[in-house]
Structure formats: C-alpha cells, structure tokens
Symmetry: C2
Subunit: 186 residues, 2 copies
Amino acid sequence: MAGISPSYSASQQLPTPSPFSFSSTPARAGWSSSPPVHLSTLVLRFVMLVLSFVSALSLANPPKSKGQRTSSFNESSKLTYCFIVSIVVFVYSAFQLFKGVCDISYRGILISDKFSDYLSFTLDQMVAYLLISSSSLGIEAIRQAETASPLWKAAIISVSMSFAIFLVIAICALISGYKLCKRIIW
Amino acid sequence: MAGISPSYSASQQLPTPSPFSFSSTPARAGWSSSPPVHLSTLVLRFVMLVLSFVSALSLANPPKSKGQRTSSFNESSKLTYCFIVSIVVFVYSAFQLFKGVCDISYRGILISDKFSDYLSFTLDQMVAYLLISSSSLGIEAIRQAETASPLWKAAIISVSMSFAIFLVIAICALISGYKLCKRIIW
C-alpha cells in the first residue's frame, strides 16, 4: 500500500461509485456483530472445552481393566506434557467462551474489539502449535508404551482428542485471522 | 456480509467519496506486484532454503570428534523424522523460490495469481505445523541422546535450525494469509 503514489490512485478513480466501495462500514459492522458468526464461534469454543476436558480426564484417570496395576501419566514426561497442554487448551476455551458471552451481553465493554481480535488471532495460533507439538509427543508415547496397557489407551484417547481439537481450532484461527485482516485492511 | 440489507447499506452511504473506497483496485495491484514485497518474500524463502539445508546436513553428517564412533540419524526414528521434514522444507523453499522468480519474470503465466495465493497459504501453514512437530520430537531426541555424542550435537543444530525456519515461515505465512484475505475480501 505504501508504494502507491497519489497520482496513480487518482488516475484509477472510477467514474461512478462502486457498490463495493460504499458497503465497507456496514460490512464490517455486519461481520463483527452478526449473531450467526458469534454463535458458531461460541459453539466451536464449547466443543473445544469438552474435548480438552475429555483429553485431560483420560490421562488423569487412565481406563484400566481388572488385574492391571494403576499407572499415572507422571511416569512419562511426554504424557505429562500432553496433560499440561490439555489443561491449557481447557482454560483457553473457557476464557474464549466467557469472552464470547460477554461480547454478546456487554458489547466491547470488557475488552475492546480491536484488542480482542489481535488477542484471539495470536492465542489461536499459539494453542494450535501447542496442540500439534503435544500430539507429536503423544504419538511417540503411544509407540513406546506397552500395548493395551492403561496408559497406552489413555494416550490414544488423548491424542485423538488433540487432533479433533486441532481441527476445531484451525477453523477458529481462520475466522479470527479473517476478522483481524478485515480490521487491518479497512 | 450476507446479513446486510440493501436499505441499511444505502442509508450508510457517505456524502463524499472516501479516499479509501476508491483506492481498492490500485491497492491490490500495488500489493501483489510491488517489488519490495516480492523481493522480501524471495529473501525469506532463500533463508529458509539455506537453513533447511544446514539442518538436513547436520543430521546426515553428524559433527564427530576424534575417537568417537560413527553414528547415523537412522538409529533414532525421531531424528529420521526431523531429517525428512528438513528435506520437505528444503524442497518446498526451492519450489517457492522458483515460483517467486517465475512470478517476476513471466507474471501469472505458469500459475494463476489466485491459485498461487491459496497454495502458498495452505502449504505455509502445513510446513509450519510440520516444523513444530519435528522440533518437538527433536527436543525429545536431544533429551534421550548421550550428552556430547555426535548425534546429540547434530540434533541440537537441527532443532535450532528448525526453530529459525519456523520464525521465517511464520512471517511468510502472515504475508500469504494477508494476501489471500485481501483477495477474498475484495
């Protein structure tokens, strides 16, 4: 944008106003305040909350059958990392859910819209990378764990949940990236 | 955008044309054809190429001191994964570098601009996730390897390079995401 000289801009002016050029303000207002987008984001965040809870729970309380010794995720540093990431995702989802509800109830009072867009974009990206990192180590933990042991089952559940959360957060990251981009461009 | 009724759009029309509304077409043309952005992207891709080459080389030929036995990254599945990812990043950087040069020389003849934006955005994201995943396993390999062994040194070099490449590709992903977003919005 910096490379455009004023004369070039002026020479390209359209003779009649384009409908697109004037719809800019309503379009932004429509996007950030439209209930369907807000609601679908809330639903996605809620799904993340539930999945991360299941992931953390499966590691904290591995499913064991009769006669098998009790084991804990503390035995493996990789599974401890997976557990911590699940908790982080759970807390983040709860925060986003809370923020989403606050946005609908008290529009822009708690956090300004601009800061909220930057925050969501950055945190979504970071959480997505954390999830991929923990899933990689989780898969390694599955490979190394004894087959059909409680920890093995717990790790499989946790990694599956992590992948599911990753897909959900990828959609959230696309939405928040699009919102941020729109804010920067306009 | 779908939620905006025509009457609302019309009632919000500005009395005088805004300079921003008319600069839309030149802005896009300026962004996608401006040499500074193209050149800086090319430089970033070249840095990625060099760093991924160093990363792959350090794993393929671990630095060894006198008296130490020869070791190979094949001994550890994690390091094999890191090596494969380095090669993938190397090939991808070479492809992007080639595409960038072609874009400057034969504008939009080889790949259409639209397809190119979608492709760059998707592949940048995927390569960034691959890098984070391989770095996580690389760190685990460093923890498990014998301290000061050739493979330990090689893994440290490779993981450092992976993080550096990740930072570079994060910038590239931001640029390609912004370009794609601009294309969708206009």
